[in-house]
């Protein structure tokens, strides 16, 4: 510690408490961010990281505690006020006006005027200012591009550029890499390092431990709304972080692979999409196999699953199940052919938020619960009960709205929905995205159990360790094409990355 440079304290949060009816979300939490450092904030979902940040930005009003910025006590009422005082946040879920262009989004709420005497917004000033920030950050985006035409990663860069344009002293990154490719992550890290060298204080929230250990100087770990530990990143190991986060030793991050790969079940030949980059993908998946699909963002992983499941339009290609051709023209047909698909965007295309667990569990298999022409309440609740028990979903009752559950439990409900259709082939798109460590393990276990029952699982993931830990084989996509196939048992992340970059 002695030789560590003593840097000024930039932001200090002390004894923050926040209660919601029935829950103590934050209990006496403190956080100190020094200038010119990256401070990682870690904890399982629901540990209180987001709530703490929301208290900082005035989205929630804290019940007690003090916040000091450069020694001065502050109490922001809105995130706008925070921004103007040099505290910015890059959100996990981007709140942007998608129909508007990049510079409109950058200067929203503070459009530059032509002059004091001419209070019209100045497009040229906006353009120049945006360009300047982008050049500084090495972001190659035309400020006049419409937001919705850009991939999520670039939209995120815009968000970061916006924070920089406010000359922020403290910048909070909330899960910034969840939709970035390796290359984009590198770019992001370069930017973060640049900001750090300028003397900014960075608060970095992430579930990805490799990243945390690489980028951060200090790590604060929270659990159940309480501060657990703050330590220099150098002194921490991944297992140590996990132990602090969950409060117990996780000996295995992945369950044992004890599934037996059998006969070929699914064969895909020359699959080409009509409206996306997916081109000429062929592969065979076997019974009892967990087949991973790796690749960079936009490499066609999601599109591959969507085309197999028939929710995206195919141009060419054939799909065979046990040697018999299946058409899978839409989700209904795929469902009848024993396919199931867990989509990437749980909230947008997975859950029925305001409906209860029962409705969410049974929607895909309703015809099974009929007695005569009518649905039987008994059968519906039996099926739901099975789903809750076999997935070990934590829910107060079947009648609970699904949106009140945590991400992991929502995912379990959707998995149960599909298992009730008795599928042979499961297409899982980022099954553990936004789920905490403990729940991830349970999802892995479920996936392997399915394989053990002889089902075929295709699993897309951006987290390579996860693919290596769970899958038997891994297909690597690149630029819409299949770049190669590796055996998960004897491959390396480097090999996969090389393949993923093949057609970029």
């Amino acid at each position: 510690m002695e030789n560590q440079e003593k840097k000024d304290v930039l932001l200090k949060m002390e004894g923050i408490c926040k209660s919601f009816p029935g829950v103590k979300a934050l209990d006496n939490v403190s956080l100190t961010v020094r200038a010119g450092t990256v401070h990682a904030l870690m904890g399982e979902n629901g540990a209180g990281k987001s709530t703490l940040m929301k208290c900082l930005f005035g989205v929630y009003s804290k019940d007690s505690g003090h916040i000091y910025l450069e020694g001065k006590e502050i109490n922001f009422k809105t995130s706008k006020e925070a921004l103007e005082n040099g505290v910015a946040m890059v959100h996990q879920e981007l709140n942007q006006a998608l129909k508007r262009n990049v510079m409109d989004n950058m200067w929203l709420g503070r459009f530059p005027k032509i002059s004091k005497w001419c209070p019209l917004t100045s497009e040229s000033k906006m353009y120049a200012a945006t360009k300047a920030v982008f050049d500084e950050l090495e972001v190659q985006v035309d400020p006049k591009t419409v937001m919705s035409r850009m991939p999520v990663s670039q939209r995120q860069m815009v968000e970061i550029a916006k924070a920089v344009s406010f000359h922020s002293k403290v910048i909070v990154f909330d899960e910034p890499t969840s939709s970035l490719t390796e290359e984009e992550v590198e770019h992001l890290f370069r930017i973060i390092n640049m900001l750090r060298d300028r003397g900014c204080g960075i608060i970095y929230i992430s579930h990805k431990m490799e990243e945390i250990l690489r980028i951060s100087d200090d790590v604060t770990i929270m659990r159940d709304g309480q501060w657990v530990a703050t330590r220099p990143a150098k002194e921490l190991t991944m297992n140590e972080i996990i132990r602090l986060m969950v409060g117990r030793e996780l000996t295995n991050r992945y369950p044992e692979k004890d599934n037996v790969v059998g006969e070929p079940l699914l064969e895909v030949k020359g699959l080409t999409a009509a409206y996306s980059a997916l081109r000429d993908v062929s592969f065979v998946a076997k019974k009892g196999e967990v087949l991973g699909i790796a690749g960079l963002d936009g490499s066609g992983r999601t599109e591959l699953l969507e085309n197999i499941f028939g929710i995206a339009t195919r141009k060419e290609g054939e799909i065979y199940l046990e040697g018999k051709r299946v058409m899978n023209r839409n989700a209904r047909e795929s469902l009848a052919n024993r396919f199931a698909m867990l989509t990437e965007e749980r909230r947008a295309t997975g859950i029925f938020g305001i409906r209860d667990i029962q409705a969410n569990t049974t929607i895909s298999s309703l015809r099974r619960y009929k007695v005569g022409p009518f649905l039987s309440n008994k059968k519906l609740s039996e099926a739901t009960e099975w789903g809750i028990r076999s997935m070990r979903t934590k829910t107060p009752s079947q009648r609970t709205q699904i949106r009140s559950l945590s991400g992991g439990n929502q995912q379990k409900v959707i998995l149960a929905r599909w298992l009730l259709t008795e599928p042979e082939v499961l297409l899982l798109d980022e099954p553990t995205r936004g789920i905490d460590v403990g729940a991830k393990y349970e999802i892995y276990q479920l996936i392997l159990n399915l394989a053990k029952e002889g089902k075929t699982v295709l699993m897309v993931s951006s987290e390579m360790p996860e693919l290596l830990g769970v899958c038997d084989r891994i297909l690597v996509m690149s630029g819409g094409r299949l770049a190669g196939e590796v055996d998960a048992r004897n491959t390396t992340q480097e090999e996969i990355m090389t393949l993923a970059a093949k057609y970029v």
Binding site: P21, G22, V59, Y60, F309, I311, A331, R332, S334, L335, M341, T343, A348, T349, G350, I351, F352, G353, I354, R355, A359, T362, I363, S364, L366, R367, K370, P373, F374, L375, R417, T421
Partner: protein, 353 residues
């Protein structure tokens, strides 16, 4: 079971701090503000005008509720899909005119006719007309991805035009259709039974039957469950294997059929039909649905709520009549009721921050 629940809730409530208690209470009051206002209004009117709570008045309210219920049951499905249907009133008008022009003794629209066709034939005909309009609505919403508001705005105009053209047919020259056949009138407005000399009309029974049928469709069929799924998340419903287009089309067709039934009953109930029959019925129906908890958020609603909504609205209207409130003023009040009911409803689904 429910006793345990309430006991548990009471205990939970006791555990809260006084600030939270105040909040809970004010939440409860606000969420039920519509009911509270209505109950207070009823009490006030009953005191001012004792005749309001006498049997004839009560039967009158029940009959009116029965008359307005089918259209509300139909429109509710459209609201569950986060849509709406403003063509409803005009479909009622068209089907009422068709029924009144055929089941009559004076055949002005079709001068060459000499006797009325069987009632069942006419009934099925108007159901088909309602279903066709519903199909056009549903098809446009499902396949052209148009907002139901704009679709039904168009069909509303189209149907109105058709009514006017229809009423010009034969020697009618756009006049009000009356002189309905006894059989038609008796079927609808005949006496179901009498209580203390006050007759309850038959259409009350029909409304009860329709309510039961709709309850079964909503709660006991795949179509019903699919409707709620599409209403709460169309994309997820599609991925889950729900035939979204078919569900939407069926909801609108079912709604069209319910409007047709309303029109068929209304022709006989009012004993005449003209171009303005059914005008603004959709407003009352939508208001009733919202009061009854069918939310524009989508995917939420119960048949019992709709029945209560229609009933409460009719009580208010009847009460205001008793107080001899100006008929023009009624529109102002109706508008306010919709606005307040929607605001209160939306409040329940807002995410607190």
């Amino acid at each position: 079971m429910s006793d345990n629940k309430t006991a548990g809730k009471a205990q939970e409530f006791k555990a809260l701090s006084s600030k939270d208690k105040m909040r809970k209470v004010s939440d409860l009051l606000l969420n039920n503000a519509m009911y509270i206002i209505i109950v207070l209004a009823v009490i006030y009117i009953s005191i001012e005008e004792p005749a309001f709570r006498k049997l004839p008045s009560i039967i009158n309210v029940i009959s009116l509720t029965a008359a307005k219920l089918p259209i509300a049951l139909g429109i509710a499905g459209c609201i569950v899909l986060t849509g709406t249907d403003i063509s409803a009133g005009r479909v009622v008008g068209l089907t009422a005119c068709i029924s009144a022009s055929l089941l009559t003794t004076v055949f002005k629209v079709f001068p060459e006719m000499t006797s009325a066709p069987p009632i069942l034939v006419v009934f099925l005909m108007v159901l088909a007309v309602g279903a066709v309009v519903g199909f056009v609505n549903g098809f446009s919403v499902a396949k052209f991805k148009l907002h139901p508001f704009i679709v039904t705005l168009s069909t509303q105009l189209i149907v109105y035009g058709l009514i006017l053209i229809y009423l010009k047919n034969g020697t009618n020259n756009g006049q009000t259709l009356s002189g309905l056949s006894d059989g038609y009138r008796a079927l609808v407005t005949g006496t179901l039974f009498t209580i203390q000399g006050v007759a309850v009309p038959r259409y009350v029974l029909y409304a009860v039957i329709l309510t039961v049928i709709m309850w079964i469709i909503w709660n006991k069929t795949t179509f019903g469950k699919n409707m709620f799924a599409v209403g709460s998340n169309e994309e997820a419903a599609n991925v889950s294997g729900v035939n979204v287009s078919r569900t939407i089309i069926m909801v609108f067709m079912l709604a069209g059929v319910m409007y047709a039934i309303t029109g068929f009953l209304d022709g006989a109930r009012i004993a005449s039909a003209n171009a303005n029959t059914g005008l603004n019925y959709e407003c009352d129906a939508i208001a009733a649905c919202v009061i009854g908890g069918v939310s524009f958020v989508g995917g939420i609603g119960r048949i019992s709520g709709i029945v209560v909504g229609v009933l409460l609205l009719q009580i208010i209207f009847a009460g205001l009549n008793f107080l001899s409130v100006d008929a023009n003023m009624l529109y102002v009040i109706k508008g306010l009721i919709i606005l307040i009911a929607c605001a209160i409803d939306m409040r329940k689904y807002l995410v607190r921050k």
